[in-house]
């Protein structure tokens, strides 16, 4: 076929500038940080920032799938608090019989993963099988988990037995080859997530569902199952994040994980995933998470006019980061 006229669709997907947008924003932030403070690029600071990004990061990877498939989950923050509380309660309770040691840590981890999975499945079930708007289901479960952890903690703080905490602490603070565990786990979650999203059937099906549910259905994609899986996976990842979180603070209370859901969703969107579904990228989410963490970090590097205005600066940077992305897209 000799048609000169079918030109346009031939242009192959060059790494469009929209791809570079978030990366660019990140680079700008790093440059600002480095110019403000000599220690910014030091190992200690980088380790700190990456390790603390891990919680939201791990959750945001799961959120990327949920949003790509056209869903939303507002409950992750309070779910994390609840799981942390549960984990602490169970571990404290098992202490007399199991003693301080690896088994009790494994028990705690198993509880976290299981609770996360069940919580995710529950959200997913209400959303898919009963067909209730995701916003409502997860707003409801957000209230429920937050309330439950307050109740478990009797209004105060649930704390891991101190000895146990000392034993568990290395899971946050140590690592291999100088790289701490949260960073390693985060990296693994990201790699697996990226592969799942871009190289596996699951990722494609998520995008298809988010793009057009009935087309996916007509193409033999099990819409409900796939969507349920995204919530289950997110729940599981909340469990994983909690496993990393508990050794850091050794406690859980009504304020644990507050607003994590907003941060996770923001990271996903800053990363270029479409809020209404149909397109998602895990690596973008990572960039989004790093951008958010760096903003906080940079605000601590210098003395600002007033700490009251931190929130305003954060807000402005978030909007700017996304404008940059759009502008880049427009030009590209």
């Amino acid at each position: 076929m000799t048609s000169e006229t079918t030109n346009s669709p031939m242009r192959r997907a060059l790494p469009s500038m929209s791809v570079l947008g978030p990366v660019l924003a990140l680079i700008v932030l790093v440059v600002i940080g480095a110019s403000l403070n000599a220690n910014f690029l030091g190992t200690a600071n980088i380790t700190n920032v990456l390790a603390r990004s891990a919680f939201i990061g791990i959750i945001a990877v799961g959120m990327t799938f949920v949003i790509t498939a056209g869903g939303l989950d507002l409950s992750v923050g309070s779910m994390a608090a609840f799981i942390a509380g549960l984990m602490i309660l169970v571990m404290n309770a098992a202490l007399p019989s199991l003693g301080v040691g690896v088994p009790i840590i494994l028990l705690g981890m198993a509880v976290a993963l299981l609770a996360g999975l069940v919580a995710g499945l529950l959200n997913g079930f209400l959303i898919t099988t009963l067909g209730i708007e995701a916003f409502i289901v997860t707003l409801g479960s957000m209230g429920i988990y937050r309330s439950l952890v307050t109740w478990l903690a009797d209004g105060g703080t649930l704390s891991l037995d101190f000895e146990l905490r000392t034993f568990y602490r290395p899971v946050y603070f140590d690592g291999i080859l100088g790289i701490s565990w949260p960073i390693i786990v985060f990296a693994i979650v990201v790699i697996v997530g990226e592969l799942l999203m871009s190289r596996a059937k699951f990722g494609r099906h998520c995008a298809a569902i988010g793009s057009n549910e009935s087309v996916a259905h007509y193409s033999n994609v099990d819409v409900n199952r796939t969507r349920l899986l995204t919530y289950a996976m997110l729940g599981l990842l909340v469990g994983v994040a909690t496993i990393m979180y508990v050794p850091r603070l050794g406690s859980a209370s009504a304020s644990t994980g507050l607003l994590w859901e907003l941060e996770a969703i923001a990271a996903v969107i800053i990363g270029g995933t479409v809020l209404k579904g149909g397109f998602g990228r895990v690596w973008g989410t990572v960039i989004g998470v790093l951008i958010l963490s760096l903003i906080d970090n940079i605000l601590n590097l210098t003395d600002l006019v007033s700490p009251y205005l931190n929130g305003a600066i954060q807000g402005v940077i978030i909007i700017l980061a996304v404008i940059l992305q759009r502008e880049a897209k427009a030009k590209g």
Binding site: G42, R52, Y245, L249, A254, D303
Partner: protein, 294 residues
């Protein structure tokens, strides 16, 4: 090592009245001390939850090389290990208000007294209502602080004939407390007094009572020493006969003691408890700070 000494100050964000007052005092003190002592440099951060506060402290250590840390822990338990590691690295640590879960970490502790806060309030109630009576209680945000206060209060009124007929969380928030109090007024025909346990909450409670036009409530007892409330005590307002202090300015005391200690080479260590004091018409004037935002 250069000449300047860096002091990190980490406090919870100004999410409600008392915390706002505390933020105000912290900033004001930092500015004042920076001017007085050119060799001092301050890093002030305000965190919205315990995790964020740990981040702030990590950042101070990693990027600002602090020599001393003044910290008002968002919550005691989660902040204990991070502060402990700061202390172990040889940094001076001053803890304010909420104590750590492990003893002996801090060099200086400027303590607030939460059980005492509840107790003073309870004792006042018992004294005002010698024949007992029915009261309702508004509690703060569910936290250990709130639990300690309520426990202290309940202990103090035990056996006094005072009944707590209802208790809900007003979350140290005016609007929430207004709503809760409106509903309490619907639910109970006779309420003798209210323990609002915080002056912000007292504001909401008073508005609800006023709007309902109820005469049965004899008085409302708040707490923390908000200037408007202290003023009303001073003026002899019947509804606000007293208040219980929990001065947000304790952060200023702590920062100042730390700074002076570092500069003078005569560091002050130990524990300074800032007890909760009952404010009444007689002594109100000395607790009235018209320039504070709280």
């Amino acid at each position: 090592q250069d000449e300047t000494t860096v002091i990190g100050v980490s406090i919870p964000a100004a999410t409600h009245g008392w915390a706002g007052g505390m933020n105000f005092h912290a900033q004001e003190t930092v500015e004042r001390l920076e001017e007085t002592y050119p060799e001092l440099d301050f890093v002030l951060t305000a965190a919205s939850d315990a995790g964020a506060q740990v981040n702030d402290i990590e950042d101070m250590v990693a990027t600002r090389g602090i020599d001393a840390l003044v910290v008002l822990p968002f919550e005691s338990d989660p902040l204990t290990p991070p502060i402990q590691s700061v202390a172990e690295s040889g940094t001076w640590v001053t803890v304010v208000d909420r104590g750590l879960s492990v003893e002996g970490i801090e060099d200086l502790y400027v303590a607030g007294d939460n059980p005492g806060f509840g107790r003073v309030a309870g004792e006042y109630m018992a004294e005002q209502m010698p024949d007992g009576g029915d009261i309702v209680v508004l509690r703060g945000i569910p936290t250990t602080i709130d639990n300690e206060r309520v426990a202290g209060f309940e202990e103090a009124i035990e056996g006094s004939g005072i009944n707590i007929i209802d208790m809900e969380h007003g979350n140290w928030n005016r609007d929430d407390s207004f709503n809760v109090m409106q509903d309490f007024l619907q639910k109970h025909d006779q309420i003798d007094a209210v323990w609002a346990s915080d002056d912000d909450m007292a504001v909401g409670v008073l508005a609800a009572i006023e709007a309902a036009g109820r005469e049965d409530i004899q008085f409302v007892l708040g707490g923390a020493g908000m200037k408007e409330m202290v003023q009303r005590v001073m003026e002899g307002d019947d509804m606000i006969p007293a208040d219980v202090t929990y001065p947000p300015a304790m952060i200023a005391t702590a920062i100042e003691m730390t700074a002076v200690g570092l500069v003078s080479n005569a560091p002050v260590s130990g524990t300074f408890t800032i007890g909760s004091v009952l404010i009444t018409e007689e002594n109100a004037e000395q607790y009235y700070y018209p320039d504070s935002p709280f």
